[in-house]
């Protein structure tokens, strides 16, 4: 047996994955579900469009999300927590850039006991003043702790540079933002985007006829209207600063964030850019990791990514590096980025990234919860499964030339804003 030769394995070129099924509840609420009957657990997610993009003040959507479970007309904060947790369930409410979601994780046979609480949250949240004050007080303290982290400082300044002061996608906060929100703001936001507003339900795990029936009983009779939909009238900054330093005294490492606005999943060049980003900084074997961690040892980790939102998309690079290596690291990032435009990628590296991407796409659909997350990401951007089929086939026929053309168009170091948080 020759251990230097890799065993011959045949990995399928076909991309088979689990798709959601859909139905409507009696009141036309769209229900998307993936059933795996062997399971005894269920994940239920209610998605309300809007999120941060529709907030009129910073922090508002996050405050609403956080306080949804802190009291309703029928139940106190304590009762809500007890009702959910006594059944061994977990309730999570979050506001993201373009949506707000209420997610329940539970044993499927407990669903019937949990939905009345959820229904109350959706229809009659009360935002008690005292709970809001706790949120503000504790939020300020946690904010102070986060401000001690260079990665937090760099990320926030990056969003500020990318989107500008008042853009709702800019989630950089100031201490004053905590005091600027009041109960009436929360109630208005709730009335406009959540209370008796149409939403979508995503169910995954054990989703049999019983579970769907129970859901329809509790949610199918809600009298819902469409939420206020205003297009965003904010534009990202046209000429962000090229280099910003955020001072953090005594930091032994600096956090780096580099990036720029880019194209999103809807764009025809996206599959090639996604491929290119993976090669550049999107996985452990990427050029950034290989060069800056595995060759030079400047950092514990460095990576790059692409983010698609409804109204914008961006590309970013992030790392925390030894304070002495900042300029060397920036020079290496620049060099690696230029190589993308100047050199054709070898056949070997092309194939490696191709197989890695195909494997990771397969993995990302593994199991009903992951498969539902993949659908959710499509749904939020108004895309359908053609996106993944197209992505797979574009990966399969990717060429070195196409990657080079894409790099010249979207990966120019001079276009990047550079944020450095550190001493």
């Amino acid at each position: 047996m020759d251990r230097t030769i890799a065993p011959k394995v045949k990995v399928s070129e076909d991309f088979n994955y689990v798709k959601v099924k859909s139905e409507q509840l009696d009141n036309d609420i769209p229900l998307y579900y993936i059933d795996q009957p062997e399971m005894d657990v269920i994940k239920l997610e209610c998605i309300f469009k809007g999120g941060m993009s529709t907030q009129k003040k910073p922090l508002l959507a996050k405050a609403v999300a956080e306080l949804l479970k802190e009291g309703t007309a029928t139940y106190s904060s304590e009762q809500i927590a007890a009702q959910i947790e006594a059944k061994g369930a977990f309730l999570d409410t979050t506001a993201k850039a373009d949506y707000l979601s209420i997610t329940l994780y539970a044993l499927a046979d407990q669903l019937i006991h949990l939905l009345p609480t959820l229904r109350s949250i959706i229809t009659e949240a009360s935002f008690p003043e005292e709970e809001l004050q706790d949120f503000i007080d504790n939020g300020k303290q946690k904010f102070a702790v986060n401000n001690e982290k260079v990665s937090f400082l760099a990320k926030n300044e990056f969003m500020q540079q990318l989107f500008g002061e008042n853009h709702p996608y800019n989630d950089k906060l100031a201490l004053e933002d905590f005091d600027s929100i009041n109960r009436a703001d929360l109630q208005d936001y709730y009335a406009d985007y959540i209370q008796n507003k149409s939403f979508s339900v995503m169910l995954s795990g054990k989703v049999g006829e019983d579970e769907k029936y129970i859901l329809n009983q509790h949610f199918g009779s809600l009298d819902l209207t469409t939420s206020k939909s205003e297009g965003m009238d904010f534009k990202p900054l046209e000429n962000p600063n090229k280099r910003v330093k955020v001072e953090k005294k005594g930091a032994s490492q600096a956090a780096l964030r580099l990036g720029k606005l880019s194209i999103g999943k809807q764009h025809e060049d996206f599959p090639a850019l996604f491929f290119l980003n993976t090669l550049f900084g999107g996985f452990f074997g990427s050029r950034l990791m290989t060069n800056i961690r595995e060759e030079k040892g400047y950092t514990y980790g460095i990576g790059s990514g692409l983010m698609s939102l409804n109204e914008a998309a961006y590309f970013f690079i992030s790392s925390e590096i030894g304070a002495n290596y900042v300029e060397e690291t920036l020079a290496e990032i620049q060099k690696e980025m230029q190589r993308l435009s100047e050199e054709l990628i070898t056949e070997e590296e092309l194939n490696l990234v191709k197989r890695y991407l195909q494997g990771s796409l397969m993995r990302s659909f593994d199991g009903p919860f992951s498969a539902m997350d993949r659908y959710k990401s499509l749904y939020l951007l108004g895309l359908d499964y053609n996106y993944y089929d197209h992505l797979w086939s574009e990966f399969s026929r990717m060429t070195a030339e196409k990657l080079q053309t894409t790099a010249k168009k979207y990966m120019r170091f001079d276009d990047l804003s550079i944020i450095i948080a550190g001493a």
């Binding site: 047996m1 251990r3 230097t4 890799a6 065993p7 394995v9 990995v11 088979n16 795996q36 062997e38 399971m39 005894d40 657990v41 904060s77 304590e78 809500i80 927590a81 947790e85 006594a86 059944k87 061994g88 369930a89 977990f90 994780y105 539970a106 044993l107 007080d137 504790n138 303290q141 946690k142 102070a144 702790v145 001690e148 260079v150 930091a251 032994s252 490492q253 996985f283 452990f284 074997g285 961690r293 595995e294 060759e295 030079k296 040892g297 400047y298 514990y300 925390e320 030894g322 490696l352 197989r355 890695y356 195909q358 494997g359 990771s360 397969m362 993995r363 593994d366 199991g367 009903p368």
Partner: protein, 412 residues
């Protein structure tokens, strides 16, 4: 219920296979019975440094990652005080690639000077990123040597001092490898749409000829009973005062381990838990306060940690934590509270069983702790805990004399 089959190869490698027909992926998990507790006190952080070196190429394969990525695989690893765990997920048809790669680095590492030099630096940056350049990042660097005087748990996995990493030599690396990275000191667990019949020949092919190492006893200097409370006060550039209080608790196989886990949940898991209701919301003393256990194999720590509100004094915070403890000693917990904590454990356990990687990892680690079937028995161990047990462990262990407290003060 996770069904599984087990085999032991003549060289001592323990193989576990779990069949899951619902996934196109396979998870390959390799647990080595070596962690920070196995280190020489003068060379700490070695097990973790080693985890990094394991990706620097093996005797016959220059790169671990590239061949794996080129069949669509993904991998990572972690080190604890007790074990080092490596795991891979990849498409089922590529299983043999993972076995080839894992067996070659069990056979012999490349031991390249360049890799050692770079990874020393990467670990130093990891030390900076996770322990020094984070607010409160050095807490367990301070607490461990205070709570433990003899047991090797007195240092964290990253090591006592970064100098130990800086000074690591190739000779020491090789000794460590041939001592601990042997088939008889490892458990290989594989989960996916396959059976022992298909897996065993492949595992024998790639791992069968790796020589066994010396039999290791896995015995460690045990801590003597703590008879007097200990405390330490430090001042740091952080925004909030924080308090950390730890107590020695029983080992991983004691039935009381489960009682401690449930007690920590009753105190702080979820919005309905005592700390949240009483200390954060009610008395508004803390912005955040948690109770937790570490999961250590040898007797570990039951910990409490809290971030103080700006107008709370350390004395008030300390007193509030003791009041919570005293109340449990005096009145116990209610049946409802205990049942709530148990139900959360059951749900979490069910969700964990939906992932093929979690299952492979759970089986492997359970086999190292005691036996693989522990993954199935554990829920019953949790169910067996009574309110009397909770009250009893509070009385027996949560005593002043068994406590170590760190007052972590914000520099004004």
């Amino acid at each position: 219920m996770i069904h599984f089959e087990e085999k032991k190869l003549p060289n001592g490698l323990h193989l576990i296979v779990h069949h899951d027909a619902t996934t196109p992926m396979v998870a390959v998990n390799l647990t080595y019975k070596v962690g920070a507790r196995d280190e020489n006190p003068e060379r700490t952080g070695f097990a973790h440094l080693f985890e990094h070196l394991m990706f620097g190429g093996s005797a016959n394969i220059p790169s671990y990652d590239a061949p794996l990525q080129s069949v669509g695989g993904e991998n990572n690893a972690f080190t604890s005080n007790d074990i080092t765990n490596y795991y891979v997920t990849l498409p089922k048809d590529a299983l043999e690639t993972a076995l080839w790669l894992e067996s070659d680095r069990m056979l012999e590492l490349a031991f390249s000077e360049k890799s050692l030099e770079v990874q020393r630096n990467v670990v130093i940056e990891e030390f900076n990123q996770r322990y020094l350049n984070q607010p409160y990042g050095d807490v367990y660097l301070l607490l461990r040597p205070l709570a433990y005087l003899k047991h090797p748990y007195r240092w964290p996995t990253i090591g006592k001092s970064i100098e130990h990493i800086r000074e690591a030599t190739m000779e020491e690396v090789k000794d460590f490898f041939y001592r601990f990275y042997r088939p008889n000191n490892a458990v290989l667990s594989i989960a996916g749409n396959l059976n022992m019949d298909e897996v065993l020949p492949l595992v024998e092919k790639w791992f069968g000829d790796i020589p066994a190492g010396e039999e290791l006893k896995h015995e460690y200097p045990q801590e003597e009973q703590q008879l007097q409370s200990r405390e330490l006060t430090v001042e740091r550039e952080v925004p909030l005062d924080a308090i950390y209080k730890v107590f020695h608790m029983p080992d991983r196989l004691s039935p009381d381990y489960y009682a401690f886990d449930l007690l920590s949940d009753i105190l702080s898991r979820g919005d309905a838990a005592r700390f949240n209701r009483r200390l954060i919301k009610g008395k508004k003393l803390f912005t955040d306060v948690q109770a937790y256990i570490g999961g250590d194999f040898d007797p570990g720590l039951f910990s409490m940690s809290g971030f103080l509100n700006p107008n709370t004094s350390m004395e008030q915070a300390n007193k509030a934590l003791w009041e919570e403890i005293e109340q449990i000693k005096k009145e116990g917990v209610t049946e409802d509270e205990l049942q709530m904590a148990k139900n959360k454990v059951i749900t979490t356990h069910s969700f964990a069983q939906t992932s093929v990687l979690n299952k492979a990892m759970g089986l492997g680690i359970a086999a190292v702790i005691h036996n693989a079937n522990l993954v199935n028995e554990e829920v019953d161990f949790y169910k067996a805990v009574t309110t009397e047990d909770i009250q009893r462990i509070a009385k027996d262990f949560l005593k002043e004399s068994n406590s170590t407290t760190l007052y972590y003060k914000a520099k004004k």
